[in-house]
Every structure is written in C-alpha cells, then in structure tokens.
C-alpha cells in the first residue's frame, strides 16, 4: 500500500484491478466457465503423467501441462465448433505435441553437446557421465532418443497407448479412424524397435 501512495504522489497510476477481477471470460460464458475447472481436474494429472514420461522431469511436465490448459484458456473452444465435441482428444494431442517438441529440442541439444565433446576428443566426460548415470537413466535416455526420432504421430500414438488410452480415445486424440488404430500401433511399434536397433544395435535390446 505504501508504494501506491508514493506512486500516486509521483503522478503515476498505481497498478489497479481490472473491472472483472476474478471473473475472466474463461471458456465462454456461464456454464462453460465452470467446465474449464471440470476439464482441468479431470485431465491434469493424466496429462502430467504422460508428459513426465516424455520429458523425464516433473517440473517440466507440469509446466507443459499448464501450457496445454493455457491454450485452452486463451482460445476456448466454442460449443459446436472446432474440437469442442472432442475436447479430451484435443487436450491429449496438444499435450503430446508439446511433449514431443520439448523432447526433440532436448535431443537436438544433447546431440550438439555430444558432437562437440567428440570433436574435442573428450572421453573424460563420457566416463564421468557413465559413473553418474544409473542404468535406469541410461535406458530412459535411449527410449526418449528413439521417441524423438520417430514420426511425431507414431510417438504420440505409443505414448498415449502406454498411458492407457482406449482405441476410441486414441482415434479422437490423433484424428484417425478407430478401425485403423490396431494397424497403426503395429506399425509404430515396429518403427520404434527398428529405430532402437539402428541407434543402439542389438545390445540396446534389454
């Protein structure tokens, strides 16, 4: 409060409240605003869980999940328009898109750093890292590297299936026919295993 007094003396307008403080237009009017809360509570934890698998970091997963809901918040889906009838699908597609983008960005950074280390003939870091990383961490890194290399739609499909999405939910989230989900899963898994072998060889297999 004291700073407001001083600011006013200085002829500046202190920060003031908007007329609709606490009452923003969230997802349209009336009941749709309440729906935002329902949607958030219903999907947030699952989205964080999926994103944590993708990025491997709870904090980043929560940030990305917030970003998903912020997109919904800022560009509400009007009833009967766009994805309004398929809101969960939109949420999970957006979440996996953001997660895979983050994963790919991280993979690019890692690759750059690894290349730089190799260029300098530095094996020391590799040795040190080997000590520091757990086997589990290494395995996770390998899986994430393969996911980052897959076609995004295949990575999304595998991630959502692993999080327990039904074929109907997968079809909604990925905008494909539910009758083709089985085939798409088989292809995505084959692509995953093939890419895994290409990068890590047979030793990469458990």
């Amino acid at each position: 409060m004291l700073e407001n007094v001083v600011e006013e003396f200085a002829g500046r307008k202190p920060q003031t409240r908007g007329p609709n403080f606490g009452e923003p237009d969230l997802v349209g009017q009336g009941s749709t605003r309440e729906r935002f809360d329902e949607i958030f509570v219903a999907h947030y934890a699952r989205i964080v869980r999926i994103l944590r698998r993708v990025v491997g970091n709870q904090g980043q997963a929560e940030e990305l999940a917030s970003e998903v809901f912020l997109k919904l918040y800022r560009a509400p889906l009007a009833q009967g328009q766009g994805h309004a009838g398929n809101l969960p699908g939109w949420l999970y597609r957006t979440a996996t898109n953001l997660g895979i983008d983050a994963l790919r960005a991280a993979a690019r950074r890692n690759r750059f750093e690894q290349d730089a280390a190799r260029d300098h003939g530095s094996r020391k870091q590799t040795v040190e890292d080997g000590f520091e990383r757990t086997l589990r961490g290494e395995r996770q890194q390998m899986v994430r590297a393969v996911l980052a290399d897959l076609k995004p739609e295949q990575a999304r499909l595998l991630l959502l299936r692993a999080s327990g999405h039904s074929y109907k939910e997968l079809a909604d989230a990925l905008d494909v026919e539910s009758g083709s989900v089985g085939t798409l899963l088989i292809r995505a898994e084959a692509a995953f295993e093939q890419r895994f072998r290409e990068i890590y060889g047979d030793e990469g297999e458990r």
């Binding site: 409060m1 700073e3 001083v6 600011e7 307008k13 003031t16 409240r17 595998l158 089985g182 088989i186």
Partner: protein
C-alpha cells in the same frame, strides 16, 4: 473365416474387439497356425515396446499430483492476471516498492537459495521472520533494469512457482471503527490533523513458493553473476509469506488511483506545483510474516543479494554482519530519495527519507517509517519533513 487382419489381431490382443466378435476370433486363432503365430509376434512386440515406454516412469512416479492444487495455481497465475500483476509485478519491477514488499521479495529470492534439501518441509522446524525495526540500505539494481530477459525470467518464475492463497481487494471504510474491524487491528489517527480522514483497508496477500534452484541459477546467470553459486541441493523447499490487511488513512486532498468520474485531473497527470500540499497519507501495516526453515542462513543469502546489487563480497559481508536478519526490514532507498536520517518517533527509532529536491522530480517530499508493537507505520507527504516527526508523534 478368412485369416484375421493385423488390425483385428492387434485389437483382439488389446481387448478392443466387440464382444460379439470375440468367440469367432478366438475359435479362428485356435485353429489357424498362421494367425496364431502372427498374433504372438504382435503381442510380443506390443509388450516389449510397452515395457520400454513404461520404463520412462520415474521411480517416484507414484508421487501424486493434486489437480485441485494445480488448478488453484493455474487460476492464480492466469485467471487473475490483472491482479497478480498489481501485486506480484511489484516484487520485481523497477519502480520503488514498499518496504515490506521489497523485503518479502528479497526474502523469497534470498531464502530460496540455500535450503538444505533431502528433508521435507514438514520435517523441519520453521523460523518466522517478523519486522521489528527498519534499516535503510542503498541498493542499486539499476544495472538490471534494462535486462528484459531477466525481468521476464523473474516474472515467469513467479508465475510458475508462486501459489497464491490469499489475494484480497482493497476496501473503503467509512469510519475508523469500520476500518479497525475490517483490518483486525485498531487504527491510529494523527491527533495533529483536525480534518476527517478517508480510510482504505488493503487486502491480505499470502502465498508460498517452491524453490527451483536451477531457475534461480539461470536468473543469476542472466543477471551477469554466474559467479554467485547456489548450494547444490535447494530444490523443492518452500517459503511462505503472509502480508496481513493494512489500513491507509488519508488526510487532505491526495492523489488517488480512483478519482470520482467528475474529478479534475487524472492520477497519471504530473502534479502541478502546490498540488496535494495538504495531503498526508498514513499507512499502518502489521508486519508480514515469512516462514522459512529454521536452519536457514539468512545472512549468507542476503550477502548474495547484496552482491547482485553490485557490492563486492567484502562490502556485502560487512553490511550483512551489521543486520539482525530475523527482525529487520531492509529498506532499499527509493529513487526519489535524496537523504535519509534516523529520528525518534514515540520513543522509537524511525527512518526519515527526504526527497532529493531535484527540479522536476516527482514523488513525495518525505516518507517516515517506524515500527511499534508489530505494526509498521509509514507517513508520506509533501512539504517540510520536520513536520513529519511532529505529525507522527501526534499519533493516537
């Protein structure tokens, strides 16, 4: 029946075929070696890949995410964006901040830096910091003013990490009794002023934040001080802050954020000569409380903060050692300030900040701050600052 398609085989494996189709598919699988072989291949690949993906779960993957808490945080960040700017942008924006908010902000940042981790907050004893005295310090963060990425990082960190638990609006009060009731403590008036004051009760603000060491380190890097290294294990601890309701008592014709519609001028207009000359505003604010882990070395953190403002390590240490960090409000000198001095108000030490007197300057002529019985008083006005002490001593 013809051989099953790949899609059927996979859907069968996943339990995604219609119940009515299932017996026929089962019968076919039992009788067709080709389909059975392919089925097992598909099932094995599915389980291998599924296993790989499930291996991505962190060992602590069972740690629960409370959607209600996340929703509250989301709303605090985005739904009340206007209001959050009004309160939280003050923490980090460049203009002068109130003493306690500055202290709170500094405390949050500084206290966030050195928590030993490995124990949950619940296992720690908390120390509560309360303001008992005020000490002015000249800190110059102007070198960071133009650092937009830094400002954005701070804003984003506040947005992401601060959970607001109370964020009340200010309310006008008709009488001193109403103001006292609303604020929860008795308001004091200036006996030397005969005119009737106006009362506004500023709302309570409370929040807590979770420490994110890597982001703080990034912020230090962005501030050009990568040499200020944070302890390695600070993640996850919490600092909680409560700023209770306070009262603003206003005498005379004062600048105001919300003038009546037909009032001349606007709060944004530069004050004309003599404007608001009879205005005195008295702010009465119970000390904010900051809860931090008891084993926190606040002095060490404060020294890091001082170094961020440009002091060298020796200066920071020397200054840090002179301050009792558990009870002292470190008051960064506002920009309008010319000089400050220690005076006596009601038998207690007070800080009188005088305007610089520079031509064309804005701001009040004086701010007088003192603490009594857990209440921080701030008297702001124009004119001769020697009147300020007399006014303050007339408090009843």
């Amino acid at each position: 029946m013809n051989c099953m398609s790949e899609n059927q085989l996979r859907a069968y494996h996943d339990g995604e075929v219609h119940a009515a189709e299932r017996p026929e598919l089962e019968a076919h699988l039992a009788s067709c070696a080709l389909c059975e072989k392919r089925y097992h291949e598909i099932a094995a690949a599915a389980e291998r890949v599924q296993g790989q993906l499930l291996s991505l779960d962190a060992p602590d993957a069972q740690s629960s995410v409370d959607p209600q808490v996340a929703l509250a945080r989301f709303k605090a960040t985005h739904e009340t964006g206007v209001e959050r700017d009004s309160f939280f942008s003050r923490l980090f924006a460049r203009r002068w901040r109130p003493a306690w908010v500055t202290a709170v902000a500094a405390t949050i940042i500084l206290c966030s830096l050195a928590f030993p981790s490995g124990r949950s907050l619940a296992q720690r004893f908390l120390a509560t910091l309360r303001v008992e005295k005020v000490q002015p310090v000249r800190l110059d963060f102007s070198a960071l003013d133009g650092n937009r990425p830094l400002q954005e990082m701070l804003r984003q960190m506040v947005s992401d990490k601060v959970v607001v638990t109370a964020d009340e609006k200010p309310q006008p009060a008709e009488t001193a009794t109403d103001a006292s009731q609303l604020a929860g403590f008795p308001v004091h008036l200036l006996g030397a002023r005969a005119d009737a004051p106006k009362f506004t009760v500023e709302g309570q603000h409370a929040f807590h934040m979770t420490v994110d060491r890597s982001r703080l380190q990034d912020i230090f890097d962005q501030a050009g001080r990568p040499d200020l290294m944070l302890p390695a294990t600070v993640d996850g601890a919490q600092v909680s802050v409560n700023v209770p309701r306070s009262i603003r008592v206003e005498y005379g014709d004062c600048p105001h954020a919300h003038p009546p519609a037909n009032a001349p001028g606007t709060p944004n207009a530069p004050p004309t000569a003599g404007a608001w000359s009879n205005c005195v505003a008295l702010v009465e604010a119970p000390s904010p409380t900051v809860n931090v882990p008891a084993d926190l070395n606040i002095q060490q953190l404060a020294e890091i903060g001082f170094q961020l403002s440009g002091m060298n390590a020796t200066q920071a240490r020397e200054l840090g050692q002179t301050i009792d960090w558990k009870s002292t409000l470190v008051l960064p000198m506002p920009r309008f300030a010319g000089t400050y001095s220690q005076v006596q108000v009601d038998g207690r030490q007070a800080t009188l900040i005088n305007g610089s007197g520079a031509p064309g300057r804005r701001g009040p002529d004086y701010v007088l701050i003192w603490v009594k019985n857990g209440i921080i008083y701030g008297l702001v006005g124009r004119g001769d600052s020697s009147n300020a002490v007399a006014l303050a001593n007339s408090l009843s």
